[in-house]
């Protein structure tokens, strides 16, 4: 009994001063590395909150001739970069959706058709100049739907005139 008391007293005497305070979560190297990796840049989600689908898509401003699906020369460099990407090692097994969008000038029906033709032009370009199987590229025309900026001004309309390429699988 005496031994245990002595041991108890020794522990109390030599214990770190802050044992009288509640211990909080320790900051470890692993924690620090996670923060350095950017984990503190987002909020902690409620576990029950439904997970949002993350799209691997990229938006491009491809220039077409007015009212046409003819691609302007100044966009060739962009399309070459896209083509080289889609045919590169690591991406060969994926399919991609090419979606065309327009601004709100013109009728809905017309814009939908134009956007589909433009997406088709991009597909043709990629298929012609690169080793990309036709089956890997799917086209869609969304017309003036899903604008990403206001159509009230020219800068907004310019942003809405775009092509998006999304990885499907």
């Amino acid at each position: 009994m005496n031994r245990y008391w002595i041991l108890f007293i020794m522990v109390m005497f030599f214990a770190q001063p802050y044992t009288c305070l509640a211990e909080e979560g320790a900051i470890t190297e692993e924690y620090v590395v996670r923060i350095l990796d950017g984990e503190d840049q987002k909020l902690n989600y409620d576990k029950h909150r439904p997970k949002k689908k993350k799209y691997k898509k990229i938006s491009f401003s491809i220039n077409f001739a007015y009212n046409s699906d003819k691609i302007n020369e100044q966009s060739y460099k962009v399309l070459i970069a896209i083509g080289e990407t889609l045919q590169s090692k690591g991406l060969e097994q994926f399919k991609f959706m090419i979606t065309g969008y327009t601004d709100s000038a013109g009728s809905e029906k017309y814009n939908k058709a134009l956007s589909l033709r433009r997406a088709g032009s991009v597909k043709t370009f990629l298929h012609t100049y690169f080793t990309i199987d036709d089956m890997r590229l799917i086209v869609k025309g969304m017309g003036e739907l899903y604008p990403i900026a206001s159509n009230e001004n020219e800068s907004g309309r310019a942003r809405n005139r775009r092509v998006e390429i999304a990885r499907l699988n």
């Binding site: 692993e30 620090v32 950017g38 942003r159």
Partner: protein
């Protein structure tokens, strides 16, 4: 049993649970941790720095401090803290190596990498680190080899793909760069880094629409990500879209209200878009939480500066510097305010401190360059502007200042090159065309002058000035038609003034005076017109009329420097030294660091009031400002002479006499100093030369007296 319990009780009482100082320190750690976990790194760092108890300063402390400092951008101190934590994990050690790279210490980073490779072997992360090291050293092919090796070991990470993309971008192979950035986005699972890298690439290519659209896709995917929101804010700021920037910032602040940096950004956007009241309102909001933070006072100082309330700006900036004297930004703003208040010496002191603290701070360099330009110290001005251009080759102000410095050093071709570069960078900048016109006119290059002048906006009155200069150069006589057309189009006082000065230069004083008087009739409050009239009177020998006009200029504009200089000189001609002294002193009240006024005042104090101490004070200040000005050196030397310090006088006078051998006054002073120093033959030779150069009286008489001895 009770005895032991009593002993235990005694120990409990004597341990730190009753030690209030230790409890404060422990509380501090605990509070710091709470702030840390809430990501309020500013506050956690502040508290951690105050902890002194060595028992509490352990690994956890160092890790917290290191990370807080990292998030605040203080990488150098973050490294120190992390190293004190003695990290054991490879990931942590790799991050420290990255921090060395970030602070520019590639050697240490490389050394660490080699040690890690020896210790841990070849891992993907080590290859990525080696790749980034190679990128920093601009060894692009080597970088890609390392990144590819990383991919072979671990093809799930997109960091090496981004590394490869960066290497192509730095090599200006933009298609391959874009290809890899796109690949990184398509292959990544958590694609924030990939989207940020892609967006930065598009910004680098001036494809801002694509940059914005893709950042927005990323934000859609991850709406609460602070990094993304900050990237988007930065992009909007770059695009000048302050509305969207504020909107995005407000969203970020709703999610992360304790992030001081976001508040700073918000205030800055308001300040830059001139929404001053909103800026003030926001600063007031953060003042309660960040009262001890120097940056809050810095922002307040900027706000008052923009409101032109220099007193309150200075008050707040002094508070900021009191809390943190090592802030380069605060020192810069203090320099700026002192410059506005014409305290050039104080301004220089603060600006130089600013660049000692942060050598790469371009704004301080540019302001210093401007100061040196105004002091005609062109080489020093060029040093600073060139430094800025090394950091930022597209800096238009840097090119402009460099061009002006080169021009005044007589290097006209080089100056023209700089103006051409500035024109390409900023073709709307009218100052370029004015400067190019000056260079061309100076070189008598009519066609280049014509070209530059034609690019000047017709709204700029300076265009008229340059056209008139071109007429002089081209020897065009029949310009009355053009002048009459100008007068018809814009018969304002400035037009009369410019045309009047043109005729003055052409040696047609009557016509000039007529036009100046017409200018005065339209605007009685034009100090410049009175000044020109004073010049005309002075050239005709009508000193008193000239004095009267000059007094009028000062009455209208008491900061008209040239008037003080000219007026003082004219009073001296009339031997009215009391008024001369009064005028120089008045001018110095506005321009305490004007070396010409200082020197002139020192001279009359010395020669006409025998006030050697005051003369010394003034010439000493002048010489610190313009150490190579021969007139100032002459005054200083004459002061030595008057104090009986003949050898010192001779030493100084020799240097200027060699450089300006045809200045009779310097030779006279030198001769007299030789004479007093018993070097009679040198004295005679020098004084004779002064006579030959037609030195005026009373010096002539003094020389003749000396030579007769």
């Amino acid at each position: 049993m009770l005895r032991y319990l009593f002993i235990v009780f005694l120990f409990l009482v004597s341990t730190s649970c009753s030690d209030t100082k230790k409890i404060d320190q422990i509380s501090a750690i605990s509070i710091a941790k709470q702030y840390f976990q809430k990501k309020q790194y500013e506050k956690s760092a502040d508290i951690l720095k105050k902890v002194e108890d060595p028992k509490l300063i352990g690994k956890e402390y160092h890790l917290m401090l290191g990370l807080s400092l990292f998030r605040l951008g203080d990488f150098e101190n973050a490294i120190i803290a992390f190293e004190k934590a003695r990290p054991k994990s490879l990931e942590m050690k790799i991050y420290i190596a990255y921090l060395y790279l970030l602070t520019g210490d590639s050697q240490t980073a490389e050394r660490m990498t080699n040690i890690l490779e020896t210790e841990y072997g070849k891992t993907a992360n080590i290859f990525i680190l080696k790749g980034n090291l190679a990128l920093k050293m601009e060894l692009f092919k080597k970088a890609r080899i390392q990144f590819n090796r990383a991919i072979e070991l671990d093809n799930s990470s997109i960091k090496p793909i981004i590394g490869i993309a960066n290497s192509y971008f730095m090599e200006r192979n933009y298609i391959k760069a874009e290809k890899n950035y796109l690949k990184a986005v398509f292959l990544s699972e958590n694609s924030i880094d990939a989207y940020i890298a892609l967006s930065r690439f598009y910004q680098g290519m001036n494809r801002y629409k694509d940059a914005e659209n893709n950042l927005k896709i990323a934000v859609d995917n991850d709406p609460d990500n602070k990094s993304l929101l900050i990237q988007l804010v930065s992009l909007y700021i770059k695009l000048g879209n302050s509305q969207e920037a504020i909107k995005t910032l407000e969203r970020a602040l709703t999610l992360y209200p304790g992030t001081f940096n976001l508040w700073i950004k918000k205030v800055r956007i308001y300040l830059d878009s001139n929404q001053l009241e909103e800026a003030h309102h926001t600063i007031q909001k953060i003042l309660s939480d960040y009262k001890e933070n120097y940056y809050t006072y810095l922002l307040m100082g900027e706000y008052y500066l923009r409101k032109n309330d220099l007193n309150l700006a200075l008050y707040n900036l002094n508070k900021a510097v009191g809390i943190n004297p090592e802030s380069y930004e605060v020192n810069y703003y203090l320099g700026l305010i002192h410059l506005i208040e014409k305290n050039v010496r104080s301004a220089r002191m603060y600006l130089e401190k600013s660049i000692i603290i942060y050598p790469g701070f371009q704004s301080s360099h540019l302001l210093l360059a401007n100061i040196y330009l105004s002091e005609k110290r062109y080489k020093l001005a060029a040093e600073h502007s060139k430094f800025v251009l090394q950091l930022d080759p597209d800096n238009t102000s840097g090119h402009l200042i460099n061009g002006v410095s080169l021009f005044f050093q007589g290097l006209h071709r080089e100056a023209e090159y700089e103006f051409d570069v500035t024109q390409k960078l900023d073709p709307t900048n009218q100052a370029i065309y004015l400067l190019k016109a000056i260079v061309a006119l100076n070189d008598n290059n009519k066609s280049d002058a014509q070209k530059a002048i034609s690019s000047i906006d017709n709204q700029n009155i300076e265009k008229l000035f340059f056209e008139l200069e071109l007429f002089k150069l081209a020897g065009v006589k029949k310009i009355e038609k053009k002048i009459n057309a100008y007068l018809k189009k814009s018969p304002n006082y400035m037009t009369y003034l410019l045309i009047g000065s043109y005729y003055k230069e052409r040696g047609e004083p009557e016509l000039a005076v007529k036009l100046f008087n017409k200018s005065l009739a339209l605007n009685e409050q034009s100090a410049v017109t009175y000044y020109y009239l004073a010049e005309m009177e002075s050239s005709q020998g009508n000193v008193e009329s000239a004095i009267s006009y000059l007094n009028k200029t000062i009455e209208i504009d008491d900061t008209f420097l040239k008037s003080y200089q000219a007026l003082g000189g004219l009073y001296e001609v009339l031997k009215d030294y009391d008024n001369a002294k009064r005028i120089y002193k008045k001018g110095l009240a506005f321009y305490p660091e004007n070396s010409m006024l200082l020197n002139n005042l020192a001279w009359i104090e010395l020669e006409h009031f025998s006030d050697l101490d005051s003369a010394y004070a003034h010439v000493h200040t002048a010489i610190n400002i313009s150490p190579e000005d021969p007139d100032i050196i002459d005054t200083r030397a004459w002061l030595h002479y008057n104090r009986g310090e003949y050898e010192k006088a001779i030493s100084k006078l020799n240097t200027i006499a060699v450089e300006y051998p045809d200045n009779p006054l310097y030779l006279f002073h030198l001769g007299m100093a030789y004479f007093k120093n018993s070097e009679k033959s040198l004295a005679k030779m020098t004084l004779k030369k002064a006579l030959e150069l037609n030195i005026g009286e009373p010096h002539k008489i003094k020389i003749m007296k000396a030579l007769s001895l």
